[in-house]
Amino acid sequence: MQQRRTRHHATWATRPAWATRPAWATRPAWVLAACLAMTGCGGSNAGDTGTETVKIGFVGSLSGTYQDVGQEMRDGFQLYLDTHGGRFGGRKVDLVVADEGNGAATALPAATRLVKDEHVAALAGIVASGSYLAISALAAEHKIPLIGSNGRPDTENSDWLWTTSFRSPDPGTAIAPYIKEHVDGPVWAIGPDYKGGYDQVGGFVDTYTKLGGKLANPGGKPTWTPFPATPNYLPYLSQIAKSDAKAVYAFFGGENAIGFVTQYKQSDARNLPLYGAFLTEGPVLQAQGPAAEGIWNVLNYSPDLDNAANRTFIAEWSTRHTDRSPTTYAMAAYDAAAVLDKAIARISGKVTPVKINEAIGQLGQIDSPRGSWQFSPRNHTPIQHWYLRVVRRDGTQLANRVVQDLATIGA
């Protein structure tokens, strides 16, 4: 995998898209160094932490549909490592990267190779919930901690599983009380027709109706749009405009988020307030352009959060990536590295997967760019703050700006 990427880089190094992504530029040298180190010492040496090496596996989408998210996560993880001397808890880190591709079918073989051939002490990364689910069994079988930083399905046994992002229903759960309080009338809920859509929109609908809110959708059921191919949202939007909806709650990501938001502003529904999760997060915002202005959205992070950890994070990030602000994906991967760093620092003697897993469970509050958070004892996902943001014009660029705290949520 790293070999293949390295060759790509050599061939395409002069392309402008690469020139604006400095993390790629530094990677091949890093990977080469990692490969050399790998052949030299096959594992970790007991005793002296100064010379001990701990091998960490990172699985993320470096190709395919979720490549933008995978790249953000990789950049976030690498940023933490680079700014901490390439060490976790005093031990030199040997980072082995593998491609998750589009989902479980490619992710599981990649992770299996990291576990069986590379004997990594912990696994991190993982973009898609499906990949996480497939790899969780592997992690439990080999007793290796899995620290995911994006999609997290509900799991029965979370002994070896950790997540630094959030559970899919959390954003909707966090914003529902605010919408109930500020919107005078029924709300139309809409999302894509797949598991992620059901969980995200379901989180909102459950809490909102429990609080006495009413959906404007026919039959009181959310509207599902064909996934992944729905280039046309206008018929849905004219339906919404004809209903008695006073606001819209939507979850869409990537290409779908661009289509939904640009068409929203050109439809009869354009004057209804639009609330959402992920609608305007990441590179989609610039593609949406002026149509995104004024969209309310809920997230666990925003680059303009005012706390010391975030100021450091933003300063470090902007020296490496001048063309874009960090996303929640980058932040969650940065935090996964921080979790490993803090956990390994608690270990005396030889670092083993079992000791890392135990140490993560004892971390308590974690200081993070998103504000402080902790793992829930039950399913090992964050108990954290959620923020209400709105898209505003910031000079020539559009940006998500924090409006207020919403709630602290986690289970």
Binding site: A17, D68, T223, P226, A229, P235, I258, S267
Partner: protein, 293 residues
């Protein structure tokens, strides 16, 4: 209440069904042309669209000149892609549809990776001129101006395509090649030249469609797959290789997807493929394989 109210409720979905249907037709037209005239099922069709869409996203900055430039660049890139494809197909000439489809599928995979390497993994959108990036009022409803313009352009493309195919000498050669390539060769026209021309023109058309369609289906890592899938549905519903059938299928599917949201909201996720299954059942014709059609 009454018929006027009902008309009002369905007006926007019907107009939108036409606009969206014509978008689907322009997506599928190059695919059906290349299959009908060249006998090649071009699975790299979506990549040619993506090339044009990237040209639009990179070049079009909101001025009319830049949009025209993007259209020229996208058409040229698509034509070059189609030309390369015809060169790549030379060695497998005469080995049947499967070899050709496999080769174009391989090209699509390589092209998909190359496009992401060249343009990055983000989904992009072009900035269209302000006159198009607005809404117009249609019987009291807001409707995107760009889509209305698209109806006109797509209708012109369809009419022009029909004129060339049915009325011009080049079109006659094309139809001759579909019917009897050996006789065409006897008359002094090399079928290979015609095939190369068809792929190049089909590529140019796909590139141009990519430029024009980019504000609705923009370039990104998933674009080629989306476009290929939608085009294949249209081509299958309309009958392989039939341009007229593709027009009818596209407008029909456009209406199903747009009116269906109003009439059968709970079924919308399945409507596209339900329409395809229904069309196949109703037509009950075997696919045209090797002269047994």
């Amino acid at each position: 209440m009454g018929p006027l109210n009902a008309l009002d409720a369905y007006l926007i979905p019907v107009i939108d069904g036409v606009a969206y249907g014509l978008l689907l037709f322009t997506l599928a037209a190059p695919l059906t042309l290349v299959f009908g005239a060249g006998g090649v099922l071009n699975l790299a069709h979506g990549s040619l669209y993506a090339l044009g869409a990237y040209a639009a996203a990179l070049i079009s900055d909101g001025s009319w000149t830049s949009l025209a430039l993007a259209a020229a660049a996208g058409t040229f890139a698509g034509a070059a892609g189609g030309g390369l494809l015809s060169a790549a197909l030379m060695p497998v000439t005469g080995r049947g549809h499967l070899a050709q489809a496999l080769l174009t599928f391989g090209v699509a995979l390589v092209a998909g990776a190359a496009l992401v390497l060249a343009f990055g993994p983000d989904n992009l959108r072009p900035t269209v001129p302000a006159g198009l990036d607005t809404t117009v009022s249609l019987a009291g409803h807001r409707y995107p101006a760009y889509r209305l313009a698209f109806i006109a352009i797509a209708a012109a493309l369809a009419a022009g395509g029909w004129l060339v195919l049915a009325r011009s000498r080049a079109g006659a050669r094309l139809r001759a090649m579909v019917d009897d390539p050996h006789m065409l060769a006897c008359l002094g026209t090399n079928p290979r030249t015609v095939l190369a021309a068809v792929l190049t023109v089909g590529g140019a058309l796909a590139g141009l469609t990519g430029v024009l369609g980019a504000p609705i289906i923009g370039p990104g890592p998933g674009t080629a797959d989306t476009v290929l899938l939608l085009s294949l549905v249209i081509v299958v519903v309309g009958g392989l290789g039939s341009v007229g059938g593709a027009v009818a299928a596209a407008v029909g599917v456009g209406q199903v997807q747009s009116l269906g949201v109003v009439l059968a909201p709970t079924w919308t996720p399945y409507l596209l493929f339900a329409a395809m299954a229904l069309a196949l059942l109703v037509r009950r014709q075997p696919l045209p394989t090797g002269g047994h059609a």
